[in-house]
């Protein structure tokens, strides 16, 4: 995988500001595992850090014209805005909070039925699955289906492999 391919994990504002020099910095060579992990963790940081989001949103709106290509404009039209509204974020939070309560209740019910493994999985890790699910509509809004599939599908698979009751 090259830097250009991993770049799409970063938020749009960040890409508008740093994409060109980031790709020039790394070139189109195949990345090592260490670099790959470092870039993915940098992308997660760029999406979750309020400071980085604020800074790159500002930079994107001020200097975006330099790097805003026709392709990016088309992509925006196709995918819509990439930042979730306050309402969407609140709905996401409510899904996590009430969904976690429902998971705990369902976990108790399953434990009562003698399915302790599944009950424990729901009680302790239900919120993690909900979080990943909500990430799809809040943090990843406006991203391509590939990015969503990688984040959501990949994390679901990893969580299931780690937590599957034995």
């Amino acid at each position: 995988m090259t830097a250009r391919q991993l770049l799409w994990l970063y938020p749009r504002g960040w890409r508008e500001r740093y994409a060109e020099e980031f790709v020039a910095f790394l070139g189109d060579r195949q990345l090592g595992v260490g670099e790959w992990i470092d870039i993915v963790s940098g992308a997660v940081d760029a999406r979750l850090s309020p400071e980085v989001r604020r800074a790159t949103a500002r930079a994107g709106s001020q200097g975006g014209e330099e790097t805003m290509s026709v392709l990016q404009a088309l992509k925006r039209r196709e995918c819509g805005e990439s930042t979730a509204s306050i309402g969407e974020s609140l709905v996401g939070a409510a899904v996590i909070i009430f969904g976690t309560m429902a998971c705990v209740a369902a976990g108790n019910w399953l434990t009562g039925l003698g399915q302790a493994g599944w009950g424990e999985l729901l009680q302790t890790s239900g919120w993690l699955f909900l979080f990943v699910l909500v990430a799809n509509t809040v943090f990843l809004k406006g991203q391509s289906w590939r990015v969503r599939a990688l984040f959501v599908g990949g994390q679901f698979v990893v969580l299931l492999l780690l937590l599957w009751p034995r």
Binding site: Y18, A24, F25, D38, V52, T56
Partner: protein, 109 residues
């Protein structure tokens, strides 16, 4: 002048060390990402990862401690800003003091 707590490198969390290395690297003149990486590797023996480097650059630029210069051949050089010089001086002074205390204790121990 010692920068306020909110203006210190320590506020950058896990990016504080790479940020310090970037400030040191830019202290002798503007550099783009690749040149910084090479320089940092020479100074510390370790090359910062691309995600880490740009995570630190983003924060330093947001705080006005470094400034982006016009890109040349798609590579954008950065220079140390006045505020960045102050922060770097304060951090190096802090490290010098820690080093002095450590050496004194080692010598007396």
């Amino acid at each position: 002048m010692t920068p306020k707590r909110s203006d210190s490198l320590a506020d950058l969390g896990r990016f504080s060390e790479p940020a310090l290395h970037i400030l040191i690297s830019l202290a002798d003149g503007p550099k783009h990402g690749y040149a910084m990486t090479q320089d940092i590797e020479q100074i510390t023996g370790q090359k910062p990862g691309p995600g880490t480097l740009y995570g630190a650059i983003t924060r330093l630029e947001a705080r006005g401690w470094i400034e982006a210069l016009p890109a040349a051949d798609r590579r954008r050089p950065y220079k140390l800003a006045g505020a960045g010089q102050q922060v770097l001086r304060a951090r190096l002074e802090g490290l010098r003091s820690v080093m002095r205390i450590g050496q004194t204790r080692l010598a007396s121990g």
